[in-house]
């Protein structure tokens, strides 16, 4: 039995052309959601089909691909997608952010600063930032077209009224290039500052919702806020227990049945790099100490 032969990166060339056209349009109109004809992929909706189609459309034989899921290279999904491209495109894959030319990510931005020859592809579940307030697609499209974004601030107002502060901690809405309001995908708000003025190209793909959008390099991206409740980047009360980092986004890991926990870097590559270079070793605080 002969092994199945796939076109490079699974998608046929016409489809890749269509996706690239959508990507070009998205880059030309930063933050604008471009509809595209999302194909059936060998994984179901909700498993990153949008990101996979964008990656498939832009991969070339010399690219080096990294795939992360919540910052980690070794979750089932990350491994799965990496294998998928390895098999259908034959390209080199890596877990090191610095080595990658294309990085596909689910819900995190890498800690390591990106460079101008890299592309970051985000997997997006619901591309429409106004969806939960205005369920009608016809209406949200008009609102974007006419820059009617009062409703977006209503959501933030509600947060402050209810919780005393803007309680949105992920998928925090942003305004791109001073024009379109965009959902940056469910990345923690900790990552929002990284979107702005980034040397790398950022692409966003939503497979089920059939939308692609983009932030071109060096574009201003401002998180929505109020004058008297300005956007504040999130600060952890702890450091990574493996590498001592104080500037990375931390995951909370329950270590035993007694409820003991520890905080570790969500970005596995970043953590490994730090540990390998011996950088933070002396800064690690043993035992679990947590602030309030």
């Amino acid at each position: 039995m002969t092994a199945p032969v796939y076109n490079f990166a699974y998608l046929d060339e016409q489809t890749k052309r269509m996706v690239r056209r959508a990507i070009l349009k998205a880059i030309a109109i930063p933050g604008y959601q471009v509809p595209f004809a999302s194909r059936e992929m060998p994984m179901p909706y909700g498993w990153g089909t949008g990101g996979v189609q964008v990656t498939a459309a832009i991969l070339g034989p010399d690219d080096v691909l990294k795939v992360i899921d919540q910052g980690s290279d070794d979750t089932t999904n990350a491994v799965s997608i990496r294998d998928f491209f390895s098999r259908t495109a034959g390209i080199r894959t890596t877990t090191a952010t610095k080595e990658a030319t294309v990085i596909q990510t689910r819900h995190r931005v890498p800690e390591t600063a990106l460079t101008a020859d890299q592309v970051l592809v985000y997997q997006v579940p619901i591309p429409e930032p106004l969806r939960f307030l205005e369920p009608r697609e016809s209406e949200t499209r008009r609102m974007h077209a006419l820059s009617e974004y009062g409703l977006m601030h209503v959501k933030l107002y509600e947060d402050i009224a209810r919780h005393g502060h803007i309680a949105t901690t992920y998928a925090y809405p942003v305004k791109v290039a001073g024009r379109y309001v965009m959902d940056p995908s469910p990345i923690p708000k900790f990552d929002n500052p990284k979107l702005s003025d980034c040397p790398a190209l950022q692409l966003f793909g939503a497979g089920r919702e059939k939308r692609i959008y983009a932030i071109p390099p060096y574009t201003s991206v401002a998180s929505l806020d109020f004058e008297d409740h300005p956007f504040e980047p999130y600060r952890h009360d702890a450091q990574c227990e493996l590498c001592g980092a104080t500037d990375s986004y931390l995951d909370e890991v329950i270590t035993d049945d007694a409820g003991n926990r520890m905080f570790v870097c969500s970005d596995t590559d970043y953590c490994e790099m730090r540990r390998a270079s011996g950088e933070g070793a002396h800064q690690v605080v043993t035992g679990t100490e947590r602030g309030a």
């Binding site: 077209a145 006419l146 009062g150 409703l151 601030h153 107002y157 509600e158 009224a161 209810r162 004058e227």
Partner: protein
């Protein structure tokens, strides 16, 4: 007839007509409305009053005639010659629309403060404290207890929802407010409260208003001028007390005589 010297009408309507296929919505309606004037459109079911309100508020395109609105810069503009974004902006910034069913005019899942503040945020207000203060002030003006500012209208009674809708529409100081049976379906005591509120707010803020109602008592209470509609035609128009106390047309006489005495 000439206007008071120096004043131009806020809204000029000429030969406004709407056909639904071969069914007449309304025909040849024309009038001028000045700042601070309240016009009632009365009629029974099928009179065309609701059609007329939809046409006047830019929500439905007429088959004939035109509607000229005087913008804040003093220039008159045909609202159906404007671009759609312009019309939508007008609707948000200069006009208000109070629905008979408050649920249509409110966001039920958002707090009262958010409902009132939305218009402000829509025109660029970015200070939470200021937005909340304005919302609080308006809740007071429509006699909703300030402690309810963070509750959603789902928890409000019908009368409260209607008052919230009124606040939401008046917060951005519109020049013209359209009202579609603003007290329809509410209990009598609640109606009285809302009518009183409307009367005072409209007078104090010098708002022009067009109120559709089937209730002549509401027209008498709220409006300076009245238009009587029947089967899509304008039967009679003039000063409210004049038309209701000295009705000229047969239909108007019928309408006025049909009210049960107190």
């Amino acid at each position: 007839m000439s206007a008071i010297a120096g004043e131009e009408p806020l809204l000029t309507v000429e030969a406004l007509t709407k056909w639904y296929g071969r069914q007449l919505g309304c025909r040849d309606v024309g009038f001028d409305l000045y700042e601070g004037e309240v016009m009632a459109i009365v009629g029974e079911s099928g009179s065309g009053k609701s059609t007329l309100l939809q046409l006047l508020s830019g929500q439905m395109e007429p088959s004939g005639g035109r509607i000229l609105y005087r913008l804040r810069d003093g220039n008159e503009s045909d609202i159906w010659q404007m671009s759609e974004p312009m019309r939508r902006l007008l609707f948000r910034a200069d006009w208000g629309y109070v629905h008979q069913d408050a649920q249509l005019g409110l966001r039920m899942g958002i707090s009262a403060g958010g409902n009132v503040g939305e218009r402000l945020m829509g025109v660029g207000w970015r200070n939470y404290g200021a937005i909340r203060a304005s919302a609080t002030d308006w809740l007071e003006r429509v006699e909703i207890d300030q402690s309810r500012i963070d509750d959603t209208p789902r928890t409000y009674s019908g009368g409260m929802r209607q008052r919230l809708q009124i606040a939401r529409n008046l917060v951005n100081a519109p020049r013209l407010v359209f009202m579609d049976e603003p007290t329809g379906g509410l209990d009598v005591s609640v109606q009285a409260r809302i009518l009183d509120l409307l009367r005072r707010l409209v007078a104090n803020l010098n708002i022009a208003a067009i109120v559709v109602t089937h209730d002549l008592a509401v027209a008498r209470l709220l409006s300076d001028r009245i238009m009587v509609m029947k089967a899509g035609e304008l039967i009679e128009t003039g000063l409210t007390d004049q038309v209701l106390d000295d009705p000229r047309e047969p239909y108007t006489q019928l309408l006025v005589s049909s009210i049960l005495p107190a």
